[in-house]
Each structure stands twice: as structure tokens, then as C-alpha cells.
């Protein structure tokens, strides 16, 4: 590494055969390097072109989305500690919409207590939680006095696990599913900050609790029992 301090053997202005030969060798080496790089890139492109396949559903976001009607004031976005949620005790906005098959679905109306879960089919946390919730229901842990309704929201045909109806069907979710519109109106009306998102509504149509993110099934038990107790 000490060669930089060594003086050049040839006087300035005259060609140095050794240096010229070295430069020529390095030029050859660079050409080989560049050629190898281009070769690897070309092979990679050929592999990519031959093996890549376009995938995806023919359904667009608007094909899946449904119109929704909202009555009442929107809730503030849930921020910070859910225990200090200012929306608790407020009247839940009443949202009327449809299931994937066109069956009318309503959330927030007084009459029966409701557990509402907002799920996005592309969201890995939702993908983990929906089967757990489905098993929870199938185990008979949902009290008879409480309805559990899912909202398929944040619809985006460009994201994985599309369309959402296939996902709900594969998981075997038994409850009704309210399908959000293309602007996620239901989610924004209920103050969704992230998915999965839970809203507990009592039989009087008042907000009991909201929670963003996955919740343990034991916590879901407690929430459901609170709603059932009125």
C-alpha cells in the first residue's frame, strides 16, 4: 500500500512502458467487469420476463364497494389511550349499507348491542385476527344479546388478498359484513385510525368502547360481557 509515495520511474513527458502495460491490463479488466455485469443483468431480465406472471382479480375497487348512508355526527379519530376516549358515551352514527350479496346491513341503530369490527383484507393483522374472531364466535363465546358485525373497509384492488369477499368466505366468518364505499366513509365516520378496529355499541346506540389494533380474545370476552350486561 506504500506505492503512492514511490516516485515514478519514467521522466515526465516520456511514455512509461510498464505503466502503459498496467493501464492496458486494467482497461481489459474493466471491460471484462462491465461485460460480466451486463451479462448477469441480461440473464436476470430474461428470467424475470419468462417467469413473471400478472395476477389479480378482474374486480375493481368500485365493483366491490357499496353505497352507504350515514345518519348522525361522525366520531373523532381515536387517538392515544382508548381508556380516555372522548367518544365514549356519544351516540353512534347510524350507517346503513349492504353485505357483499346486497343484503341490507345496519350498524349503530338502537335496539341491540353491537360489536363492530373494521377489517381490511390486505392488512396482515386483520388476516391474523379474523380467523381468531371466527373461532371465538364458533366456540359460542358471543352472548345472545350481542350482535357482531364486520365492516370490510379500506378497499383497494391494488393490494394483496383481493377481493375481500373471497377472504371472508375462506375464513368462514359467519356474521354479516357491511361493505364500505370507495372513500371508506364508514371507517372515517367511526374515527378509524388503523385496522383492525373495534367499536362496542350498547343497546341504546351509545359508544361503550373503541380499540385500534388486535385485541386478545379474553379482552373481547370482557367487552362482549359488558355489552350483554347492559
Amino acid at each position: 500500500m506504500g506505492s503512492t509515495s514511490r516516485p515514478s520511474t519514467a521522466p515526465k513527458g516520456r511514455p512509461n512502458p510498464r505503466a502503459e502495460a498496467k493501464r492496458a491490463a486494467e482497461r481489459r479488466q474493466r471491460i471484462v467487469m462491465v461485460a460480466a455485469g451486463i451479462g448477469v443483468l441480461l440473464i436476470a431480465i430474461v428470467i424475470a420476463v419468462l417467469s413473471a406472471g400478472e395476477s389479480g382479480s378482474a374486480l375493481s375497487t368500485s365493483d366491490v364497494a357499496r353505497d352507504v348512508q350515514v345518519r348522525g355526527d361522525a366520531l373523532p379519530v381515536l387517538e392515544g389511550d382508548p381508556a380516555a376516549d372522548p367518544a365514549v358515551g356519544d351516540a353512534a352514527p347510524v350507517v346503513r349499507g349492504e353485505d357483499f350479496d346486497g343484503t341490507p346491513v345496519e350498524i349503530g341503530a338502537p335496539g341491540r348491542a353491537q360489536l363492530v369490527t373494521f377489517m381490511a383484507s390486505w392488512c396482515p393483522a386483520c388476516q391474523q385476527e379474523l380467523p381468531e374472531v371466527t373461532a371465538w364466535i364458533e366456540d359460542g363465546r358471543l352472548p345472545a344479546e350481542v350482535d357482531l358485525i364486520a365492516v370490510a373497509t379500506s378497499l383497494d384492488a391494488g393490494r394483496p388478498n383481493w377481493p375481500p369477499q373471497d377472504w371472508f368466505e375462506e375464513v368462514g366468518f359467519p356474521g354479516p359484513v357491511l361493505v364500505d364505499d370507495t372513500r371508506s366513509t364508514v371507517a372515517s365516520t367511526y374515527g378509524l385510525p388503523a385496522t383492525p378496529y373495534w367499536v362496542a355499541i350498547d343497546a341504546d346506540g351509545r359508544i361503550v368502547a373503541r380499540n385500534a389494533g388486535m385485541i386478545p380474545m379474553a379482552q373481547l370476552d370482557a367487552l362482549a360481557q359488558t355489552l350483554a350486561a347492559g
Binding site: 479488466q29 431480465i45 393483522a125 385496522t195
Partner: protein, 189 residues
């Protein structure tokens, strides 16, 4: 088009992984061939350039919004294009002192990002706009974007260390460089 580019990034990631493994074996054995040390820094630069162009393609052309952790990895990867590019041009064997810490920080963010992808419960929720847990790309059933970035960072670390043995420029090249360097700045040996 997008599917082809995604597959191409997957294939190039496998190439980078192979290069990193070869480099690691050479480092462990303690004998770095001259040809390998010569190509190490240009290769590291090529990996940084590919990762940078790839990430810009994914966000600006494919339309995958970068999440918070993606940005931290970008912050680590993008400067490496310049740092390694200049070092490769000047054949600076000391660049590992700068490149390795930056790439190591990027590797940590990639590892955490991959963990959140694999275990959504770690993150617990999905931001509807730019969720870190969402796997926009998953080539060969395993290579997601943060995993590709992580392999890129690891390859850069290995190649920067292999490049420690890059021969310094010859005196004649020194003269040429000095002629174009009026400040006469010194080059590490």
C-alpha cells in the same frame, strides 16, 4: 411491466445474496483474491444503485407507498450510492469505515421490518395509508421489499470489507488525479 420488474428485483437480490456469501467465505478464509478486491467496491455501488432505483420504481411507478420503516431504510441506502460510488471511482479501500456503519443501521431497520411482516402481532395494526406490515411484493414466496433491502445492505457490508484490500492507485494515476485536484487533497492508503 410491474410484475416483471418485481421479479427482476427478486432475481437480482438472489445474485446479491450469492455475492455476499462468496465474499463472506473469502473474508472468513482470510485470503482475498486480487480480482475480487478490485471488483468489490464497484459491485457494492451497483447494489446500492439497484436498490435505490428499485425503491423509487416501487413507490413512483408501481404506486406502493413507502411506510415509516421503508423511509428509514431509504435514508440508509440512498447516501451509499454516492459514498460507494466515489470510493469505487477513487479506489478508496477505507470507505468501509463509513459504509459499514450506515449499512449496518439499514440492516437493523430491515430486520425489524421483516419481523413485523412475518409477525403482524408485533405491530398490531395497519395504517390504512402506508402499513409497514403489508407485503407489497413477495417474490419466490419469501423475498419481500425489506428482505431485499436487508440482503442488499448485508452484501454492501461484505463487499466494503472485501474492498479493504483494493490496491491503491499507481503513482502515474496519482499524477493524473493530482493534476485534476488543485487542492492536492490526500488519499488514504
Amino acid at each position: 411491466m410491474v410484475a416483471i420488474v418485481e421479479r427482476l428485483t427478486g432475481v437480482l437480490t438472489l445474485v446479491a445474496l450469492a455475492v455476499a456469501v462468496v465474499g463472506l467465505v473469502v473474508l472468513v478464509r482470510g485470503r482475498v483474491p486480487r480480482w475480487l478486491s478490485d471488483v468489490a467496491l464497484p459491485l457494492a455501488t451497483a447494489i446500492a444503485v439497484t436498490a435505490t432505483v428499485g425503491s423509487l420504481f416501487m413507490s413512483e411507478v408501481a404506486g406502493y407507498p413507502p411506510c415509516e420503516l421503508c423511509w428509514y431504510q431509504r435514508i440508509a441506502m440512498y447516501p451509499l450510492v454516492v459514498v460507494l460510488g466515489i470510493a469505487a471511482w477513487r479506489r478508496d479501500p477505507q470507505v468501509w469505515r463509513t459504509a459499514v456503519p450506515i449499512a449496518a443501521i439499514g440492516t437493523l431497520f430491515s430486520a425489524w421490518h421483516v419481523a413485523i411482516e412475518r409477525r403482524p402481532a408485533l405491530g398490531g395494526m395497519c395504517d390504512p395509508a402506508a402499513p409497514c406490515s403489508l407485503r407489497w411484493v413477495e417474490e419466490f414466496g419469501i423475498l419481500t421489499l425489506p428482505m431485499m433491502a436487508g440482503i442488499g445492505f448485508l452484501a454492501i457490508i461484505v463487499l466494503s470489507l472485501v474492498g479493504r484490500n483494493t490496491p491503491a492507485p499507481t503513482p502515474d494515476e496519482d499524477e493524473m488525479t493530482d493534476a485534476a485536484d488543485p487542492l492536492g487533497s490526500t488519499r488514504p492508503e
